[in-house]
């Protein structure tokens, strides 16, 4: 052991207009076997910077709290092994750690994700039958369980260019909430209809299927193919398919 690694960490707070103001600070720590990025951050806190801010909870990839950008890529710090990071970082270069860039800054590595909590409140909840002991097959459960494995880490939102580059937080729900909507719309017992909302308020049309969200999902959810595309198809069928519209008028379809 005794090997050292240098982290270049963003330290700072937003100014009065919300623009991040700060600097990159270098910290060098000694490595232990099997460390993940979050361990190194904790070691920096314990050794030299107690006030360095970062969120974390479970340290096992289950809660989605410790999202950050490591060497420019959005990941969970608790599930990113230093062995892999050292391999990808060029010799002699520090490891670069920044907060998620698509969200406003709170301080250091902590981003303000309150947008997500506000948006979630607008999505109508499950409407199922009153009778208890619901019956549906494991195959029906499997389809929805994939969506329900989302840990709300917001790495997908941080990566989506509609939000990151175009800042369309008011018009577009982003991958996390299309996963949530797919969960509700494909729930075997749900009787609700949220398609108009998906089309209008949540702006699913803005997604042009670049699959960046799916690439960064630490839960391995196939966001694009299993959530977004089926939702887009349902919207098309409901609102733009002439045959479906005709069938509805004739009372052949709901």
């Amino acid at each position: 052991m005794g090997r050292e690694v240098t982290f270049r960490v963003f330290r700072g707070e937003p100014d009065e207009d919300g623009v991040p103001k700060g600097e990159l600070v270098d910290y060098t720590v000694e490595m232990d076997e099997g460390m993940v990025v979050l361990d190194v951050i904790h070691k920096i806190q314990a050794e030299s910077a107690p006030d360095l801010s970062c969120r974390w909870n479970c340290k096992a990839g289950k809660c989605g709290s410790c999202s950050a950008e490591v060497n420019g890529k959005a990941r969970l710090m608790c599930m990113t092994r230093m062995a892999d990071i050292e391999e990808e970082t060029p010799e002699g270069e520090p490891v670069l750690i920044k907060p998620m860039q698509a969200f406003p800054l709170v301080k250091d590595l902590v981003a303000d994700v309150s947008w997500a909590y506000e948006l979630n409140k607008t999505i109508p909840p499950l409407t199922g039958p009153e009778e208890k002991d619901w019956v549906f097959s494991q195959e029906e459960a499997d389809r929805v369980q994939e969506f329900r494995s989302c840990i709300e880490c917001m790495l997908c939102v941080n990566t989506c260019h509609v939000l990151r580059e175009h800042n369309m937080f008011d018009e577009f729900a982003g991958p996390r909430f299309f996963v949530r909507l797919a969960d509700l719309e494909m729930h075997p017992m749900d009787a609700g209809d949220r398609l108009e909302m998906v089309k209008d308020d949540l702006g699913i049309g803005y997604c042009n299927i670049t699959r960046c969200c799916t690439d960064v999902c630490p839960a391995g959810i196939n966001i694009t193919d299993n959530a977004i595309i089926p939702l887009k198809e349902r919207v098309v069928t409901e609102y733009y398919d002439p045959l479906a519209i005709l069938a509805k008028k004739l009372g052949l379809r709901k």
Binding site: G34, D39, G61, R81, V113, D133, V135, Q145
Partner: protein, 620 residues
């Protein structure tokens, strides 16, 4: 003058894990205005880490199951120190709490078509499936792969946000206020922006989870520093059974950075075997007398049970000894280590690799990824290395079994923060239905009491000034230790002196060390300001950690026997004649921690008849 913002709500819920959210949902249903105050963001609380499942006698998977058997298993697992009234309520109400969760959106794994029960009649396909777990006679745990906690918290979160509750995220509560002997509110600071707040509430519910961050090897996050337990104690509430801290037998042990992270009991429920460095399946040597008739005594019989489980048919064989209760398995692993038969990195081996690769990935997806990504171990091909990790505290705020009100009027507690249901040892899966059952009850009764209360009690300005000064003090100290160092030393000390195996001498040392650590804690200097400063937050946690550790050490020192999760090397056997009939009670009186022992509440004859008569007579 420091700016302190005041808020008023009928019911204050402190904590947003399963118990807190369930309580908040119930309280809003009854029309109360509710504030949920939580240390992390919504949906990140400790419940999210629960893996294996939620125990409820739905009797879907095995129609022989009933609330009576669940009650018996819970009491037996708790070594009869449980409050039988809570065990009864829990066993009876858990199934409805699970069914209700399903109607709120939780997608539990389903029963496949074509299965038959023990009586040859077909099981109802498509209903909630249930899995085997330690100490449960029948498959009883409703589950979602090995991520049951995530499903639970997300379901409650999504239900809760439409219930009208207001959520104060990333707020830490530092003090409960009492006015004329009744809890009148609390003081909190906002972790993100450093602002200070008082909340006036007609009633207050503590749903703050546990304390296991006080040990160096634990499965808990930074949140588990036990402020909830400390808040109740400081407010004058009686605390019960604080010596009983569960060490889960299987935590990760290698590499060092993952030490303590939980490996679900579901691995053993799915047929995982425990072996020592000599390749011996050692659990056969550790079956206690009280469980002798219920567990396999040969590998063949154990394997026959596992084959039945894999084939998804009703088990007719006795189960493998790996599924003994957690206290028994943790101590067995400890004994194997002591005898020099530890695995390469000081634990034992847990092996599920003999099962079909796809089955392992389907049943235990979280474990597969956890080991692959954090330890570079493929559990479908090689054994895991595991060892005990501090996981859960059975002790907590003493509450009325029906209403969940503590000994301080206006203060309620539910979930891990409360005590009573689990006795000396908790069965896996019982915590998730504990927090649903008693979270609901706490919400219901706290809202009812709030509705009967006119107006808000005034909080003393002197009390507010005192806690404000105390809260800001670490930031005013220019020189001092890094709080992280004090916390690390406290955790190492508790691990060594108040861990799985205890002695009177070590516990006395622990109590002395705690005085010293607390004094050091009062002099730390984290530096920085009030905006999201983890050093400052940690400096403030030390006083709670010291008092909680003290409660544990003091009651462990007093209990001169070994029972459930509490093991004394100097008193190695259970003593039914005295200690098996009393619960410890701790309270604060004139600045001093006091302890006494109360007789367990007398059990009704009807319920006593459900218990294992041989257990009770054997220890008389």
């Amino acid at each position: 003058m420091t700016d302190v913002r005041n808020h008023q709500y009928d019911v204050l819920v402190i904590g947003a894990g399963g118990a807190g959210l369930r309580a908040a949902i119930e309280a809003t249903r009854d029309g109360a205005s509710v504030a949920v105050i939580c240390k992390s963001m919504l949906g990140k609380a400790h419940t999210v880490m629960a893996e294996g499942g939620a125990a409820a006698a739905l009797a879907n998977k095995d129609p022989r199951d009933s609330w009576q058997t669940h009650f018996r298993d819970t009491m037996k697992g708790g070594k009869y120190l449980n409050d039988w009234r809570m065990a009864e309520i829990h066993a009876k109400e858990s199934p409805d709490r699970i069914r209700e969760l399903e109607q709120w959106g939780a997608i539990f794994d389903r029963i496949p078509p074509g299965l038959k029960g023990a009586d040859g009649k077909p099981l109802k396909a498509g209903t909630i499936s249930q899995r085997n777990f330690g100490g449960h006679t029948y498959p009883r745990l409703a589950h979602i792969g090995d991520a049951t906690g995530l499903e639970l918290i997300r379901t409650l979160q999504d239900r809760g946000i439409h219930s009208g509750m207001d959520v104060f995220m990333e707020y830490t509560v530092r003090r409960l206020f009492t006015t004329d002997g009744r809890v009148s509110g609390c003081f909190a600071y906002n972790r993100a922006d450093g602002t200070l707040h008082t909340f006036q509430g007609k009633t207050t519910i503590l749903a703050t989870g546990g304390i296991t961050r006080c040990w160096a090897v634990c499965s808990g996050s930074w949140e588990y520093t036990g402020e909830g337990h400390a808040l109740a104690y400081w407010a004058g509430a009686e605390m019960g059974d604080m010596e009983f801290v569960q060490f889960h037998p299987t935590g990760m042990i290698w590499p060092p950075s993952v030490r303590g992270i939980l490996v679900t009991e579901g691995v053993r429920g799915e047929g995982g075997v425990l072996t020592n460095s000599e390749g011996e399946r050692f659990m056969f040597n550790y079956v206690p007398e009280m469980y002798k008739n219920e567990f396999a005594d040969t590998q063949q019989e154990a394997q026959a049970w596992v084959d039945e489980v894999i084939a998804d048919v009703t088990a007719t064989q006795r189960r493998p000894p790996e599924l003994l209760t957690r206290d028994v398995v943790a101590k067995a692993i400890n004994s194997e280590k002591k005898a020099g038969r530890a695995s390469e990195h000081g634990g034992v081996y847990l092996d599920i690799s003999w099962r079909d690769e796809e089955q392992v990935k389907k049943k235990l997806p979280g474990m597969y990824h956890q080991f692959k990504e954090l330890a570079a171990v493929d559990i479908t091909k090689e054994p895991m290395e595991v060892g005990p990790t501090a996981h859960y505290v059975m002790g907590g705020v003493k509450v009325d079994p029906v209403t969940q009100e503590s000994s301080v009027p206006g203060l309620y507690a539910a979930g891990e923060a409360a005590t009573g249901l689990h006795g000396a040892n908790r069965l896996g899966g019982n915590s998730l239905t504990d927090l649903l059952t008693f979270g609901k009850r706490a919400g219901e009764y706290a809202a009812k009491a709030a509705a009967e209360t006119d107006g808000y009690l005034e909080i003393s300005q002197t009390d507010i000034d005192a806690v404000v000064a105390e809260t800001l003090a670490p930031l005013n100290r220019q020189e001092g230790e890094n709080p992280a160092k004090v916390v690390e030393d406290l955790r190492e000390m508790m691990q060594e002196k108040a861990g799985i195996i205890r002695t009177g001498a070590l516990l006395e040392e622990a109590l002395a060390d705690l005085d010293e650590l607390e004094a050091r804690g009062e002099k730390t200097a984290p530096g920085g300001g009030r905006i999201y400063n983890p050093g400052w937050h940690q400096a403030l946690e030390i006083s709670a950690m010291a008092d909680i550790s003290r409660m544990c050490a003091l009651s462990a020192l007093a209990r001169e026997e070994s029972r459930g999760a509490h093991t004394r090397d100097d008193f190695p056997v259970p003593d039914r004649s005295h200690w098996g009939k009393v619960n410890s009670v701790i309270w604060l009186e004139e600045g001093e921690m006091k302890i006494r022992h109360d007789p367990c509440p007398p059990i009704s004859a009807e319920l006593r008849a459900l218990l294992d008569a041989s257990d009770l007579s054997e220890e008389e």
